[in-house]
Every structure is written in C-alpha cells, then in structure tokens.
C-alpha cells in the first residue's frame, strides 16, 4: 500500500510540520510529557524526602527503607497505572491526567526515599557527633551537616526516579488520550500495517531522546547544586545511573 520504503516514510513523517504542530503534535506531546513527569517527581520528593531524612537522622526505620526499595522494584508500573485509571473512572473522573500523576508519584517514592535515607545514614558518624558536641541542635545538624553531605546521593535518587517516571509515563497512553509521547507509540501499534509504523518508531525515538536528554540535563544540574567541597568527595556525581545502589 505504501510505495516508499520505511526509512523514506519515516523521514517524511519527521520532517512534516504537521507532525510537530497542533494539539496532538510532537512538540505539545513532549511538553505534556515533561510536565506530567516533573509534577509527579516533585510531588514524590515532597512526600518522600522529609520523612526519609528525619528517619535516617534518627537512625530509625532501616527495615522500612529496605522493604520500600524492594517493593518499589517489584511493583509493575503498568498495573499501577491501569488500577489508578480504573479507580478514577469508577469515581466518575477522567483517566487522562490525575490517575497518571498519582501512579507516577507512587512509583517515584521508593527510589527517592531509599536513596535519601541511605545518603544520610552514610554520612560519617564522627562528623555528626562533632557537630552535636559543638552544641548544634538535632535540626541544625540535619540541615547544616548531614543534608549538604548527603545531597549528591539524594539527587542521584531523584534523578533515577525522574528518568523512571519519564519512561513510565508513556504507558499512560494505553489507558487514556494522554500519555505524552506514548501517544504516537500506542497509535502506531494500532495502525502498524496501515502506515502507523513510522509513527511508532518516530514516537519511540522521540521518547528515547527525551529520557537521554533529561538524564544528561539532570546530571548537569546536579553538578550545579552540589557544593564544590562536597563534590570532591563524590567524584561519581552526574555519571551514568548507578541502579544497583538503589
């Protein structure tokens, strides 16, 4: 049915301005995708970081931290997204935005919590005790000693969560008309033999590019956020993700 070869059609699709513009265009979809991912990650940080930092400071809840990490890895994000969508639908809402955000928040919490917790517990005990001995309050120690020293590892956790959220948000396109850059992929699967193959591959390339760019951009931002002195202690900051620590 299509005279042109696949690559030519892909090139045509990617260079067609209609592909990029408008409500369902790739630019809008990319912005939607970034917005839902940033929002979910930010909410997850707000929920997970404070208790993680405080518990780690008090050296409590180690079991909870490990359990959360394991559960977080084991829970299938696809299932969580579908369940969240169905709960919203049954309650009379739309599956398009909030269920996706909530599911993504739930998925982002474990890596953020665990990394923040581990980061604080790994701060040298002698440093903390020295600060306490100098008369600082618990709160001051957490804020001015432990937190700065833990920042690199905390941010690594946020980065890992952010990248996972961007990747997982694509699945939102299965349950609604949302899902950012998942849209061309899901639509492409459905119309695969009637020309949807270029949409499928084009969308996949876009979302792969987005995750890679987001990862590099976040790594760059980490370098800006982490004080010079602390950065020297953590030469790995901004390196490719170390998934095995999380």
């Amino acid at each position: 049915m299509n005279e042109l070869g696949f690559w030519e059609r892909l090139g045509d699709w990617l260079t067609d301005s209609a592909t990029w513009s408008g409500d369902g265009g790739l630019l809008q979809l990319t912005l939607d995708h970034i917005w839902v991912s940033v929002l979910a990650t930010a909410v997850a940080v707000a929920i997970a970081a404070p208790p993680a930092l405080w518990l780690a400071h008090r050296r409590r809840g180690r079991f909870a931290a490990t359990a959360l990490a394991n559960i977080g890895r084991a829970v299938p994000s696809f299932g969580i997204i579908v369940i969240a969508a169905v709960v919203f639908i049954r309650a009379g809402g739309s599956a398009r935005f909030w269920p996706l955000v909530i599911a993504l928040v739930a998925l982002a919490i474990p890596p953020i919590f665990t990394n923040a917790y581990t980061a604080v517990t790994e701060v040298d005990r002698a440093t903390v005790e020295a600060a306490l001995g100098m008369g600082h309050t618990e709160r001051e120690v957490l804020r001015h000693v432990e937190l700065p020293l833990a920042t690199p590892l905390i941010l690594e956790g946020v980065r890992l969560a952010f990248i996972q959220v961007i990747a997982t948000a694509t699945l939102g396109a299965v349950v609604s008309s949302g899902g950012g850059l998942g849209r061309p992929i899901v639509d492409g699967f459905a119309t695969y033999r009637s020309g949807g193959d270029v949409k499928l591959v084009g969308g996949a390339l876009m979302v792969a590019l987005l995750t890679i760019v987001a990862d590099r951009a976040f790594a760059g931002a980490e370098r800006l956020f982490v004080p010079d002195g602390v950065r020297r202690l953590f030469p790995d900051v901004g390196e490719p993700l170390d998934v095995s620590t999380v």
Binding site: M1, G24, A85, V86, I89, R90, G92, G93, S94, A95, R96, A173, V174, V175, S176, S177, R183, V186, D187, F189, A190, T191, Y192, R193, S194, G195, G196
Partner: protein, 319 residues
Amino acid sequence: MRSSIRLRRTVTAVAAIGLLAVSCSSDDTSDEPTSGESPEASETDGEVTPVDGPAITVGSFNFPESVILAEIYAQALEANGYTVERNLNLGARELIFPELENDGIDLLPEYVGSALGVGFGGAPTGDLDETLAALTAEFEAIGASLGAPAPGEDKNVFVVTQAFADDNGVADIADLAGVDEVRFAGPPECEGRETCLGGLQDVYGLSNLAFQSVQEASTRIADLENGNIDMTLLFSTQPVIAQKGFVALEDSLGMIPVENIVPVLSAEATEAYGADLIALLDSISASITTEALIDLNTRVEIDVEDPADVAAAFLAENA
C-alpha cells in the same frame, strides 16, 4: 502453552455440557473441575469419528465477541471430529490477514464490511450482497473461501448520551453539524478510516469534531458517561449501549457498511475439507443473530463469564 490449556479446558467444557445436558447457570459450569479429566471423556458421549486431515487453526481478533465467535466455530468443529488449534486474541486485522494468507490461521470469524474495507482496502457499502460479492472475490484471489454470512451483524455505531442527544436535538449523524464542537473519542485506527473519522468528515462534512485517540473501550465508555467526551465509537452488539442508555445515532447517508458475521477459511483448509466443512460452518452461522450476539456479549462483558463457556452453552442451546 496457552492454547493447549485452552484446548484442554474446552474439551472438558464440551464434555461437561454433553454429560450434564442441563440448562445450568454459568456459575454451575465454571465450578466444574477443569483438571484431572482425560481428553477421552469427550469421545465417550458423542461417538465422534475423527476427521482425517490437517489441524484447523482458529484465530480471532482481540475483542471479546471475536473470541466468542471463534470459540463457537472451534467447538462445533471439535464436536464433529475435526482437529482444532486455537490462536485467539490476536491484534488488529492488519496483523491477522498475513497469517490467513500463509495458512498460519485457517478459520477466522470476520465482519463483511471491515474485512473488505480494512483488510483489502475495498469499498464496503450498506448493501450486503454487493459487499459480500466484492469480499468473496478478494478472498478467492488469495485462495481463501467464505461461508454463508450469518444473519447477525455487528456494525460500528456512533453513540452519544441521552442528555447530549436531547440537549442538541441529535438523532442522526447529520444532526451533529448543528453542534458547536463534538468531542469524539475513538480507537487509534479510527483516525484514518473512511468508515470512521474520515467518513464523518468527508461523507457528512463534519468539521466540528475534536478527535481523541483512546485505545481501550472501557475508558472511552467511561469518558462518555463521565462527560469528558460527547461521542464515541462502539459496536452495535455491545450490551453496554442499552445498559447505560446511550443513543446510537442513525446513519442516514449509509456511511457505515454492513457487518454481518462471516467465517473465512484459509486456502489450506478449503483444499483439505471444502464443502463438508463449509456446510457445517453455515449450519452454525445460521443461528448467530444480532440478538444472540448481544446476549453472548452480555454474558462475557457484563457477567464476566469465560468466552469458551459461553460458546459451549450457545452450541448446546442451538444444537
């Protein structure tokens, strides 16, 4: 792996139906033990003589009605001694037709209009004979053959809520022209099709449609019910239309093609079994009415019964 389990379950289901021969409720059949029975059980009651020849692989699309229809044909063939394999719940037509062509699938319950329009890029109409003739020619070209069409059909319908129909005075697709904007959700493949979004725009000249691609039926229906969209595409045999009190819009311009059920046989199966098999399929198809389809769908979609069990019950009732 999966098909062998399905096969075992259906064999036992058929056996259970034969042995019980009771008009039992679904719960009774599903409680039947499905393991530990030997396959021979099905042969003790029917005295079926096995038919020699290659196994017939029955395929289906990935929506419940197609699976039920495939099960009905498959179990009828098994009851008559044919060797049957199942390859159900496959994707869209674009993926299945190549399989039909290279004998990966031997029997597929099809829909006259969609098979012609989507499968072969033809132009189905509202006329059954005309559409069927064109479709038969297309299938013969690849060596496949068709059974007689069933009286029942399952066509695309554009549905709105009763409230939307009342507020905007809409009963026919053409009436939509008077509405400011119609938020319309359909499956992804709707966008390019002349029997779907393309037809609404070209045949009815509607320029006020805001299309959203929503893949799964449950979310589209919920969106309609919850007021997130104004119109969606459903199938006329979906029990949810009556259940939710949706309004199926009339198609005064005859854009929506006829969609009677018709079984398609691969070249291999046609060659091996020919007229005998077709006669058997036709005897089954004759009892598949639109009402029967709605009933079958109700049992699977609303009552959450198994397609295989529902198919077995249907055959028992219509034997």
